[in-house]
Symmetry: C2
Subunit: 429 residues, 2 copies
């Protein structure tokens, strides 16, 4: 196909008519497709239904160490669950705390605690005039919502194919002691599916922040969420790397089984240095008597160990892989060579990132919506919902069925074409 920018005004206008007719046809289908969030599909949820059978009234809900999971207590999680999640998170079991059902909640609580009580003895952030976070962009909207909610100023740091622009990160954290954190999704990032390179991780571990209470918020949400068996991204483990670099306390690592077992009914965890864990436990013991140990035990009994979990993730991959491939095939087929968009081809995670021509993302998403396809709001991948280029759109292929997804992506590509033509025509005019 000829790139749109090389087409004449007349050619574009002609094409526009043709595409409009196609769009009208789509509107006539009365579609209701939701690709707004990284929700697993019903088919994926089905593969975890065995979770409902591993604990019955005839089972003993007691841990190896004698803990009755039904009763109060055990603030940091049962030993068996710590072992399972430690393997998933590639850390030692004594470096993690098991929480409730949501790693987002753990991250929120981590920021909230820092606001009211500081970090390992530092001044509570609410007592400071200014607190800032670095935000690799595009990134995860719910991260940005937390920092925005607490009035923390967010500074955009561009993502590169190897992770955040580390020159900029190094320079900013060294120069400004009001910068207290950085949001990272280091593996199969949200939304681009980028995994940080070895050099990026090494440079993270060797940051020299001006603030002693600066922490890397390492949200390893997709740590075992590969699409392929033989092509998997591998990251240097950040806790160990920080320790080697003499910065053992500089990172909090977060993860959960939300996209392994059931979203909303999984178990979440934080991994950190002993100093950080001691600091966290001081607060946690005030906040709760303990999290849901029966659900922890349920996970342990269902997965057995990390091998069981990896086997389970293969089943997720078998469902997700065709969807990712369908998205990329459709984009390639419909938009390849047109020079009106670029997209990523991740090897795992939950998202594909699409960059339209500058200034077109909002209009594309709105146009999709008018034909019954809900995409993640344009701008959502940037702090304050403000994409300075208005070009980034997050594609979440997991929730729709494969036939629905193919239809949705055809509609999406169609909207990209129409909006791009309008944009090019308006620039010619």
């Amino acid at each position: 196909m000829k790139p749109y920018v090389e087409m004449t005004k007349e050619e574009l206008q002609e094409l526009r008519k043709e595409l409009s007719a196609q769009y009208k046809e789509f509107q006539g289908r009365d579609l209701k497709l939701d690709m707004s969030r990284g929700k697993p599909s019903a088919e994926q949820l089905d593969i975890s239904m065995g979770m409902m059978d591993v604990l019955s009234s005839s089972d003993d809900l007691t841990c190896d160490d004698g803990t009755d999971c039904r009763n109060y207590g055990v603030l940091d999680g049962i030993k068996e669950a710590k072992e399972l999640l430690a393997d998933m998170m590639e850390v030692a079991p004594d470096h993690i705390i098991i929480y409730g059902n949501s790693s987002l909640n753990v991250m929120y609580d981590t920021v909230s605690r820092s606001m009211t009580h500081g970090v390992m003895g530092s001044t509570p952030w609410c007592k400071l005039d200014k607190v800032k976070f670095l935000c690799p962009v595009p990134g995860y909207d719910r991260h940005f919502s937390i920092t925005e909610y607490f009035g923390i100023e967010m500074i955009n740091v561009p993502m590169t194919p190897t992770g955040p622009d580390m020159d900029l990160v190094e320079q900013l954290v060294a120069a400004d002691d009001s910068i207290k954190g950085i949001w990272c999704v280091p593996k199969y990032s949200n939304p681009q599916g980028i995994s940080y390179s070895d050099e990026t991780v090494r440079r993270f571990a060797r940051l020299k922040p001006a603030a002693s209470d600066f922490r890397i918020y390492w949200d390893n949400a997709y740590t075992i969420h590969h699409l392929y068996d033989n092509e998997q991204d591998h990251l240097i483990e950040i806790l160990a790397e920080c320790k080697r670099a003499g910065n053992p306390d500089m990172v909090y690592k977060f993860a959960s089984t939300s996209k392994v077992s059931f979203p909303g009914s999984g178990i979440a965890a934080i991994a950190a240095s002993e100093n950080n864990l001691t600091d966290i436990m001081k607060q946690l013991k005030i906040q709760t008597i303990g999290h849901d140990k029966v659900n922890q035990l349920r996970h342990v009994r269902f997965f057995g160990d990390i091998h069981g979990m990896v086997e389970h993730m293969r089943k997720h991959a078998d469902i997700m892989r065709p969807k990712f491939e369908a998205v990329i095939e459709t984009l390639e087929k419909e938009l390849g060579g047109l020079q009106i968009g670029e997209w990523t081809c991740p090897k795992g995670g939950y998202f594909i990132s699409f960059d339209s021509l500058d200034g077109c993302a909002k209009t594309i998403v709105a146009k999709c919506k008018k034909a019954g396809l809900v995409m993640t709001g344009a701008g959502a991948t940037y702090p304050y919902g403000k994409d300075p280029y208005d070009n980034n759109i997050r594609i979440a292929p997991s929730y729709p069925t494969l036939p629905d997804l193919k239809q949705a992506m055809e509609l999406f590509a169609l909207c990209v074409k129409i909006v791009s033509i309008d944009h090019i025509l308006s620039e010619i005019a």
Copy 2:
């Protein structure tokens, strides 16, 4: 029995010898009894084991409104669970939010949110020079720990047989706008088992606090935790009463099923006015995508409705009642008429409160411990762990078996006698 104070020095010394011999005998038994916390016994946990069977892989985990409980979403709880807990909490379903496993966590988060974001638009408490809470005493140590953790000054308000001293409460909240809350366990209070009288509840609803962001923290932990079928305390419902009194926003009501189903694996909730709920939801949507809906559904399927829950609580009562009666019988038999202690006789809840002679509680608890009986730490029922009279001891009869409990209470009474004699002798000397 003759009151100890009427005995001669010689009589007391003689008795002391006898009791010491008994104490030595107890020490020889190598006891390991724990009455420190309000933990349900294994027998109580067993009656909820049916919870493990109500959801299996062949069940549909879908709500009536089509919500798939396995997936993300539904921030305020599934409709069925709201109905169940609304009935338990005696409010309308649209006035509650369902949380995770711990009402303590909900209370912590409520205070934490007020610190960072204020209450319905008020100045965040962390920006104020001074924030104070009223604490009816004796009270629940974990309440006091939350306010202490946030640097909130705690003011003791004496409990009376009808609830907190309302003259004092009214006077204090009207006079001081730095008083932002009061901790209440209004029904079968911790530790005394006192239920607030109708007049007390009415006066609560008609408080005229100087601070617009003053809230009553109404922890209705034992709302359906009766010991008897025919002798049950009944409270005026506080939300409705506040509304009638023109103070609809003045109260947060908390509850959970921790001592109904499984501690640690129950579901918790807050009930409040629409204004308060709107304020809370603004924060909650940042903190999490949703709580564990599968566990909410599990509770709904197990209990069916409030009648099922009430039936279930009868089974708890059948286990708890003999324990409460054993404690009170032993105290009556061993200490009745000696004038060295007083105790409460609650009709529900988890605790009995014991008042020793002033200045004796710590020594009694320490003496119990040396013979293998762990009681709640003396002082724990007061803010900062400081009982100004050193006389209050919380008795938690739920966890031990009945034979163990009887033994424990004999040991306890023995320690009370010995320490009281020492105290009286030291005053004679």
